[in-house]
Every structure is written in structure tokens, then in C-alpha cells.
């Protein structure tokens, strides 16, 4: 019954360094905690140290559940931008509004933010240069023109809320425009599904530098 088998041929005692062990695991713990809790301050610090080049030309914004990549951009007034917004989610619709301040709606437990109060795109000429998998595109007060055949999803009449292209899962749209003379900090966000995407953190910031 107690049939002891030799477990291994030879057991050799070879020590290892306690210091390496502690420094290695300690450093990784710090990295892990930093990644979990300090990613935003660290990103802000890195930005303030190294600055950020304004983006121009073709740029891509990826949408996920529930985030944007990137969630921080720098633009400069007068630059020509061709922004592709691509929804990488396999399950969710996502939009992208840009603006400042909030329209709100009271509920039993808390006040909910429904969209931006000030629409960045007001009066801005925008050309749709490519589009695929669009659910709807509210243009509000932008001056829209299109290289693609936009019906039936293009909603140009007023009363549908702020400027917002809403992509189906996998959809994407390319918008070409010149950054208007509206320098300062602007925000972008997605408010779909009863405004829950914003609550879940689907937000970003654009720092527009003067020309």
C-alpha cells in the first residue's frame, strides 16, 4: 500500500537571491496597482511632461464597450482633419458627440446627463467621405455635405439632438473638416442606451490649441 516511489533522481540545493525576488515581485505589484488605480494621473503627467503634438490629417478614433481609443486628443485651429470613427464593438451601437456642458434629466435617484448643452459642430462645414454600417447620423447645426449616398440614415432636420453619428457594431464613418476657431477644452462622449454609456465612462477630451 505504502508503495513509495522515488519522486526525482537527484535533489540539489541551489539557492536563489531573496533580494531579486523581493525587488522583482515588489516592482510588479507597484506596476499592477499603478495600472489599476493611477492610469489617469499617470497619463496626465506624461502629457504635461512631454506635451502632445496636435493631430491632423487622417486620424482614427476607435469605439469600444464603453470607451474611446484615444480618450485624449489635441487639435489645432485651422488644421485639416479627416477623422475615421470606427465602432469595434460586436454588440453595441456607439455615437460620438463633441461639446461642452450638459443637458440633464432628473430621475428618482440621481440627475442624468443626456447630451452636451453646447454643440461643437455648430456652423462647421463637414464632409462625409466614407460611411458603412451607420444606424443614424444627426447633423444638428453642422453644414453637412457628403461624398457617399447618405440616405436613409442622415437626419438633417432639427430636433433630433446634438451632432452625432451612431454606428452599428462594426460600422465606421469618415468625417473631413477644418478645425474651426473654437479653441479650448472640449469633450466627446456617447450617450446611447438611455445615457448609460456616458455613465459607464465612454468619454474623452479634446484640447484645441489656437492657430
Amino acid at each position: 500500500m505504502a508503495n513509495e516511489e522515488p519522486q526525482e533522481k537527484k535533489k540539489v540545493e541551489v539557492d536563489w537571491s531573496r533580494r531579486q525576488f523581493l525587488i522583482g515581485t515588489g516592482a510588479l505589484t507597484v506596476v499592477g496597482l499603478g495600472a489599476m488605480f493611477l492610469n489617469e494621473p499617470v497619463a496626465a503627467a506624461v502629457r504635461s511632461v512631454f506635451g502632445q503634438q496636435p493631430e491632423s490629417g487622417p486620424i482614427t478614433v476607435l469605439q469600444g464597450d464603453y470607451f474611446y481609443i484615444p480618450n485624449y486628443m489635441t487639435w489645432r485651429v485651422g488644421d485639416q482633419i479627416s477623422m475615421t470613427i470606427h465602432n469595434t464593438s460586436t454588440t453595441h451601437f456607439h455615437e460620438m458627440q463633441i461639446g461642452r456642458g450638459f443637458n440633464t434629466m432628473p430621475t428618482a435617484l440621481q440627475t442624468i446627463r443626456t447630451q452636451f448643452a453646447e454643440d461643437f459642430w455648430k456652423g462647421v462645414p463637414v464632409t462625409i467621405t466614407a460611411a458603412q454600417g451607420i444606424d443614424n447620423f444627426v447633423t444638428n447645426e453642422a453644414k453637412i455635405s457628403s461624398d457617399v449616398h447618405p440616405t436613409p440614415w442622415l437626419l438633417t432636420q432639427p430636433g433630433n439632438g446634438g451632432f452625432s453619428p451612431t454606428m452599428k457594431p462594426g460600422g465606421q464613418i469618415t468625417l473631413s473638416f477644418t478645425v474651426p476657431n473654437k479653441p479650448g477644452i472640449w469633450h466627446y462622449a456617447c450617450f446611447v442606451q438611455g445615457y448609460m454609456h456616458w455613465l459607464a465612462g465612454m468619454r474623452g477630451t479634446i484640447n484645441i490649441l489656437p492657430a
Binding site: 513509495e4 531579486q20 469595434t88
Partner: protein, 628 residues
Amino acid sequence: MSTLELRPDISPVPQVVKSKRMPPVIRGILWSAIGFLVINTLISYVLDPRYGHPFITQVSITFGWFAAMVGWVLGVGAWEGAVLPAFGHHGTLYTAPGWKRFFEYSTEHKVIGLQYIGSSAGGFFIAGLAAMLMRLELMNNSMWLFNYPQQYLTTVGIHGTIMMFSVGTVALVGGLGNYLVPLMIGSNTSAFPRMSGISVLLVPFGIVTVALSPLLGYWSTGWRGYEPLASQDPSGILFYYLGVFALTLSSLLVSINLTATVIFKRAPGMTWGRLPMFAWGITTVSLLNIIWLPEIQLTFVMSLVNRLVPLPLFTATGSPLTYMELFWLFGHPEVYIVVVPALALWQEIIPVMTRKPLFARQWGVIGLIFVMMLSGFVWAHHMFTNMRNVEMMPFSFFTEMISIPTGFAYLVALGTLWRGRLKFNTVSLLVLMSMFNFLIGGMTGVFLADPIINLQAHDTFFVVGHFHYTIIGGMVFSWLAAMYYWLPKMSGRMYNERLGKIGAIWIFLAFNLTFSQFFLLGLHGMNRWVSVYPSYLQPMNFETSIFAFLLGLGFLFHLVHIWWAWRAGQKAEGNPWESKSVEWITASPPAEESFPVIPRIVSSTYTYDNDEPAVIIPSDGKRVATTS
């Protein structure tokens, strides 16, 4: 491997080589990182590139994670310890001296047991920190600590997942089971030591995976991963599936190993009729694990694939119920996986402390076995809100019936206490407290088995109170009792009786003041899974949180006390409790080879009504080794 040479593994004086090597844990992390980078890059850039060429996609991270897991296990030492030998390479397994043995691959069941206990304790405090964050948020009825509701829900999910799969299922089975079962049945090894050495490495890997899940996005399903919600969740849920996969795989391997150990490794005379209750408990939960863990692993793999491909597995009409059935089929047996070893621990400790034979031993065994069998018939009591009235009846019935075999286990403990002269110390105090708490947990469970009450209390803090009473009150208190009881065995040192008692009373009060209020909160309408709640519940939540923090501190107090006793406590006598159980005839702490001569068991080990020894060391016995 087996040869006819004369025991080549017994080399009391290990060769000492001066050259150093990389700390195994560091090598494990390195290999893990390499594995991840190679496979992840291969998938995201070559095999399955996505629009915009993101470096990490859901598919790449899933396969990358598996590579990382393999890299970790091999890097820590399974490469030399298990893989090379399997290919006939007579590799050398290095060991380090002292405490460092606990931070490398090992095949020794006592080292592995302590590695499991250490990992569980780590999981307990990580998930405990999450609980403290939850209680902090709930001190106010608005969002003040977290920014997004999903952050709260993710915290709840991390807390529940790590607690269930790395503490509840692991501490008493992988931990105490690996350490004690071979010792209790007079064996020097477990049945599959190499597999065991690998399985323990999966626990820290799984815990870290779940804890880091927010890196991939918040998830909102809690520990149950309900579909179709999970398929709609951000990608953090991936690390839930993957981490739980590692953890459940570990428990499955433990169960296979320990079941085989109990069947094949018993010393002469250790008949089934004499098998210690704790070994019985471990055998029954191992069977539960072997039946139900593959079932839940398959469910989670389905959910994972459902999401990655994606497939519409759980979205059609009625399918959400399919997931719930699949989850709770495992989910209910899981609660007995948690609590059965705790019941067995009471039955192990109480006879020693009362100096009385175990009362109605065979009923205790029958109780454990019937709990095990019935636990597969009650799952739908978690889903009363989703069923027709006629369907509730059988589940309500079986749920109330299961309190009968559970009651056997309870009565065995009570009968042994009856008119006994209980030695009053930290250990027996914690066991009594555990029995008290578990009684409350069990009685509120009977209420919840009643559909009329269930439909009112479902999804409220009443339920949260109920299961914390069984899990913390029943299992964690028993775990602590066991740690104090076997501390002299594991470390050769004794804890401080006064500090132990203070700690026990501390957590008993804090625990009851916290969780009894969970019942009241629930009855007043406090829902689970909400960080924002009606303001009339705020004062009670506030004060409940304060007791919860005290409870957290109480557990820290025990951790520090045990740590201190382990290193600097008074030297303990060989058998301080005068137990008749087999593990106490070994040295304290036991040598690498616990029994130089395999003992012979001559009677039940609970015969405290006479002075005859239950275990003898045969003088003509097969000598397994020269004494060192």
C-alpha cells in the same frame, strides 16, 4: 520512473551547489510575459488582425493568457519538475533552503498545502479589500467613491469571484486537505505529487487575473457571469472567465489527487470505518468538485466562445434561463463544497477538546454523503423569481430536506459536546462561534427556501446576509480554528492564548454586528448590486460599514498574530492537544518525509474514553528510510 535501485531519492544530506539561479517566481513571470507577447502578437498581427491594428484584441488576449499561464507554471519549476522527467530526461530538481521552498515548485504535499493556504489568504485579503471599498461606497447613498456604477459592480464581482473560487473552494480543500489528509491517513505523499505541484501554481495566477480584470474594462455580472448580460459587458469579463478557469482547474486537480490519495494511500489499518472525519469531508467535497467543476467550466467556456466568435448562445427567448440553470447546477453544490469541510473540521476538533469519542460517527458520515447527493437537487431555489409556481414545489421541498443531513453533522458535533468537559481555548471558542454563526446562516436559508419569503427577499441584502453567515460564519471561522489548532503541527510553535481569544471575540462581535444588519437592511428594501440607493437606508448602511471595517481589521489582527506565532511563538510540545489522530505522531513541523516508518492504525482515532493508542509504529515495520 520506478527502478529497482535502493531508494535513490533518500539523500538526507542534499548536495549544496554554490551557483545561484533566478528566483523561480521571477522566472515564472518572465516566461509568462514571453508566452503572452509571442502568442498575443501572433494573433493580433498575423492570424486575426482587426481594423486599426489594435495590439490587444479579445481573441489575442484570450490565447495570450493561456500562453502566459503555461509560461508561469513551467517557469516556476514545472519544466524541470514535471515536463523534462515525463520525456525521460533525468532532470535535476533544485530546491532552495528554508522559507524559499514555498516560493518554488514542489511535490511535497505539506509544502503544497501551505502554498495553497498562503494563496487563499492572499485572495482573502485582496477580495477583502474589495469588500472594504464596497462598504466605503455604501456609506453614502450617492456615488461618492466610485465614478461609474460599473466600478462598484466590478468590485462586487472581483470580491465574490476571488472569495468563492480562491478562498471558499480552496482554503480548506487545496490548503488543509493537501497538508492534512496524507498525514491523517499515514502516507508520506499524495497520490499525484507532480500534478499537485502544478495545480497550486494556478491559484495565484487566477487571483491576479481576476483582480486585474478592470484593465480590460468594467464588468457588471458579479461572480455568476449571468448571460446575456455578460455578452453585453465590456471586455473585463474575459479575465473573469479566464481567472475562474485557472482557479477551478486547480480545484479539480486537487480533488482528483486527494480522492486518489484517500483510496490508495492509506496506511495499514486505516480502514474506511476508521477514516478521520476530515478525510471523509475532503472525499465527499472532492466528489462534488469532480462532478460539478467540469460542468461550470464548460458553461464558462461556452460563454467565452459566445462572446469571442460571437455566437447567439444565450440571447434567444428562454436562453437566459438556460444559463441560470447551468450556473446554479454548479452554484448550489458549490456552497456545500465550501461548508462540508468546515463541518468535518468541527467533528475533528471537538472530540479532542472534550476528550470524548465522536458521537454517532456513522451518522456524521451519512450526513456528509447525503448532503453531497442532495445538493444536486436544489439549484432552482436561486431562480424562484423566474419560475412558475408549480415548478417551485420540488425545489423548495429538497432544499428544506437538505437541512436534515446537514443537521446530522450538526448533531454529531453537539452530541460530542454534550456533557463533555470542553477545554476552553481559542480553538474551541472559534469552533463554537462557527457553529453559532452557521446555525443562523442555515436557519435563514430555510426561510429563503420558502418561495413566499424568497420572492420578497430575493436580490436583497437579506440574501447577502444569509450566505455570509454560512461562508464567513461557518467556513472562515472554522478555517481560523483549524489554523490555530494545527499551528503547533505546521510550525512547531504555539500561538498566544490571550491574543487568540481576544481576536476570536473581536471578529465574532464585528461579524455579527455587520451581517445581522444585512438581514435588517434587506428586509427594509436594500437591494444587492446597487451603489446608489434610497436615502432612508443611509444611516443603517453607514453604521454597518463601520462594523465591517472593524471586521476587516479583526482578520488582519489574526493574520499578524498567526504570522508572529509561526516565527516567534513559544516552542510547542509534540502533541499539545493530546490528540490520537495520526498526524500528531510526526515531528512538528514534520520532516520532508513525515513517517520514516509507516504507522499501523489499530483503532478509531476518536477513542478518548480509553488510553490505548490508536496508532502504533511497528518495530518490524518496513523501514522507509534511515532516520535522519
